[in-house]
């Protein structure tokens, strides 16, 4: 998708060999030449595009009206067929269609693109050794984070494992503070103390480094929601690798016994580090692994599928029925982390096939463009804005100073008066502030 000219009628095939359950879907083309140019090419340097009030895109350098489209021309909302969900211990599942408003579509597009660009920038900075240690990138999986957030609210709670940059963003973090945390600077979201795997915002409990530990933690958050009598729930995410952890089964048990408002979500990206699902799990039907917990298996590359499934799951929890489990079938383009090229245990062809046939951002873009919900220029403008935001954030993240040494021993205890901390030698007396 998005590489050169395409014929008038576009058949969008979202099928990969990894996801045999996905079916071929045809989107009739209403417009000729949807892709007038490669959307990944930037405008010539020096040119600056801006929107006029009438929705015209004007290039200031050339003073040429690039397109004349007013907002009134766009379809305000459209209903799409979405893939049927596999069910476990459920009579009914989420609906087979999803209605997307233009506003939501643009929002999801922007957010997914922001995550994509942010992760690619992190890749760059890591290779330049400006980011160090662990860096687990989320590109390819954007529809999961964005779709989940589309099905809950910010007053709900969420916890995930270490592939957390996307969630930090959808949960309210800014690109600036996320990137500054990756580069270990004082304006980082955790003041440089946490790094890639330990970012927190309101109702977002990280970012957790120990595989599987976040799942019981999420159930504890759900217990608090129930205890305090709120209508809130907790989404607790884990990967296909973590799905075999004993503590997750312990959590399934207690969450069911106590009817905790928790949505367990397994992001199945087919590989736990370098081990494919077939080599790690006796049963790869992760949506059934909760046994007595109802489950759904969802196309995790389709933001609308994820959103509808999440809404369905959230209703289930909020009606007091207890936990529910969603398996999102997704894919990561990068290796497990920046130290893994990601091609020793899977082929480049496989990665390329997913990229070309199932990319979540392309899928949304196709839908919006072919249903007249946005224009090419508009989306390109968003791309440009996103790139600028990422560039600015990266610039900030590389120039912001590192945390002050005074901060070394701070934040050991909460609400405690200052106390002495032993340094590396008996003569080095440091101070801890809360």
């Amino acid at each position: 998708m998005g590489s050169g000219r395409l014929p008038k009628t576009i058949v969008c095939e979202h099928r990969t060999s990894l996801h045999p359950q996905m079916h071929v879907k045809t989107i009739p083309c209403k417009e000729k030449n949807i892709y007038e140019q490669d959307p990944d090419i930037l405008p010539p340097s020096g040119a600056h595009l801006r929107w006029t009030e009438g929705g015209q895109v004007v290039s200031e350098a050339a003073s040429v009206v690039v397109s004349s489209r007013s907002y009134a021309d766009f379809t305000p909302e459209a209903t799409f067929d979405i893939k049927k969900v596999d069910l476990h211990r459920l009579e009914e599942g989420p609906p087979l269609t999803s209605t997307l408003t233009r506003e939501d579509g643009l929002k999801y597009y922007r957010t997914m693109q922001t995550i994509r660009r942010m992760e690619l920038k992190a890749d760059q900075l890591y290779k330049q050794k400006i980011i160090r240690g662990f860096c687990h990138l989320y590109d390819g999986q954007e529809a999961c984070a964005v779709g989940i957030e589309g099905g809950i609210t910010l007053s709900d709670h969420l916890i995930t494992a270490y592939r957390a940059h996307g969630y930090t963003l959808t949960r309210g973090g800014t690109v600036r503070e996320i990137m500054a945390e990756l580069t270990g600077r004082r304006e980082g979201i955790a003041k440089g103390k946490g790094g890639s795997m330990h970012m927190y915002t309101k109702n977002f409990y990280g970012g957790n480094g120990i595989v599987g530990a976040q799942v019981p933690l999420g159930a504890g958050v759900a217990l608090a929601c129930k205890y305090l009598g709120t209508d809130q729930l907790c989404v607790s995410l884990y990967g296909d690798g973590a799905a075999n952890q004993g503590q997750i089964f312990e959590t399934y048990n207690m969450a069911s016994l106590w009817k905790l408002p928790i949505i367990f979500i397994c992001e199945n990206n087919q590989y736990g580090m370098g081990t494919s699902v077939e080599r790690a799990s006796a049963s790869t039907e992760y949506y059934k692994r909760g046994d007595f917990i109802p489950g759904l298996r969802v196309d995790g590359m389709d933001v609308l599928c994820v959103r509808e499934a999440t809404k369905f799951a959230a209703d289930h929890c909020r009606s007091g029925k207890g936990p529910i489990l969603m398996e999102l079938q997704t894919y990561r383009y990068h290796g497990h982390s920046m130290s893994d090229p990601g091609v020793s245990y899977r082929t480049r062809e496989e990665i390329q096939e997913v990229r070309s046939k199932s990319d979540p951002i392309s899928m949304l873009k196709d839908r919006m463009l072919s249903n007249n919900m946005a224009s090419v220029e508009e989306l390109k403008e968003i791309d440009i804005e996103v790139r600028k935001e990422i560039e600015d954030a990266a610039q900030f993240a590389t120039t912001d100073p590192e945390p002050p040494l005074d901060d070394l021993c701070s934040h050991i205890y909460a609400n405690e008066k200052s106390f002495e901390v032993r340094g590396a030698t008996p003569w080095t007396k440091l101070t801890s502030h809360s």
Binding site: A219, Q247, L257
Partner: protein, 359 residues
């Protein structure tokens, strides 16, 4: 009148308290309370004081607690606040920490601290380190409690002391009460603390009664975490200990006093943060130090105390090297004669004091 007030205040165990009072020779307004009841009353009062406090663990509710420490609480507070868990330590410890993240104040009971090893990742990586990793954004106001160290005849897997293991970790507070005053005041302080607290009880102390003054029976009686207490003043040598061994030190001190040796006995009360100032002041006064603990010697609490004394001003006041009295460096055996010889006895303390003092 004061005795009636403290009778009414002690609530659940009023009857046993009154019965004990009739036979005790305590001063007016003081009551005899055993460590179990002190813990029970402390939890009861804190549950009442703050709606966010709740207790979870194996058998804590309908069984009244494996060691009866939570007796009567489920009957009073119900399923919402006193929660029986399945035998899944890693899971329920994680749930407890998550509940603390989201604003509750859980008390997570391990039936014994030996079982905490199944959940130790949640205690250290999820609870202890989170405030630091989040740069002060996420607090974890949780208490993990349960019996620690040797019991009687329970053999190797059920007898380990974890003071050194948990005391090693920044971000945790680790507390080890000896008597009822300690148990009450420190548990209340732990529950009110906004940080993760490891609360190491001792099963053999549960049934031991101690006198609690009226002041100690007050609802807001708390003992500051991080402060040691000098239980007995002395001039010739400092004995530093925690938990049950404090009692052994006092017994040893009584015997040694007859031979003219006056021991100063310091009850650590808190393992982390360690009250080095009180220990140093005592050593600078007496010039000699023996540490006493139930745990194993290698990399233990006593080892830390000796290292700190070496590194600080008190070293120059030492007349002899500081030594440690510890549990024997073996897994705990079962047979009584073997078990008795696996733990520090009063005679070991007396022997060590005399060696240090060159008597």
């Amino acid at each position: 009148m004061a005795s009636l007030r403290s009778f009414l205040r002690s609530g659940k165990n009023a009857v046993s308290v009154v019965l004990r009072r009739e036979f005790s020779e305590t001063s007016p307004a003081a009551v005899q309370v055993n460590v179990r009841d002190a813990l029970n009353q402390a939890m009861d009062e804190e549950l009442e004081r703050d709606e966010r406090v709740f207790l979870l663990g194996e058998e804590v509710a309908q069984y009244d607690g494996a060691y009866k420490v939570s007796r009567g609480l489920w009957k009073k507070y119900g399923d919402k606040r006193i929660i029986d868990t399945p035998i899944t330590e890693m899971g329920f410890a994680g749930i407890a920490v998550g509940a603390a993240f989201a604003g509750l104040r859980p008390i997570c009971e391990f039936m014994t601290w030996n079982f905490s090893m199944q959940a130790i990742d949640q205690v250290i990586n999820s609870a202890a380190k989170t405030y630091y990793m989040s740069a002060g954004f996420q607090t974890v106001p949780i208490v993990f409690r349960g019996p620690n160290g040797s019991s009687a005849g329970v053999a190797a897997q059920h007898s380990q002391c974890f003071a050194a293991w948990y005391g090693h970790c920044p971000g945790l507070k680790v507390v080890s009460p000896w008597n009822s005053e300690d148990a009450r005041g420190l548990l209340k302080a732990a529950i009110r603390d906004d940080n993760p607290v490891v609360f190491l009880e001792n099963e053999m102390m549960y049934g031991v009664p101690f006198e609690l003054s009226e002041e100690m029976m007050h609802k807001d009686f708390v003992i500051p975490i991080g402060k040691a207490k000098v239980e007995r003043q002395g001039t010739h040598i400092t004995l530093v200990s925690h938990s049950r061994c404090v009692g052994f030190c006092l017994d040893a001190a009584a015997v040694l006093a007859k031979e003219g040796v006056e021991c100063e006995v310091v009850n650590l009360r808190t393992i982390r943060p360690l009250d080095v100032d009180t220990i140093e002041a005592s050593v600078m006064k007496t010039g000699n130090l023996v540490t006493v603990e139930g745990g194993w010697p290698q990399y233990g609490v006593g080892a830390e105390i000796c290292a700190r004394i070496m590194e600080g001003p008190a070293f120059n006041y030492l007349d002899a090297p500081a030594v440690r009295v510890t549990g024997v460096d073996i897994p705990m055996p079962y047979a009584k004669i073997l078990e008795d010889h696996s733990v520090p006895q009063i005679k070991d303390i007396i022997f060590s004091v005399k060696k240090v003092l060159n008597m």
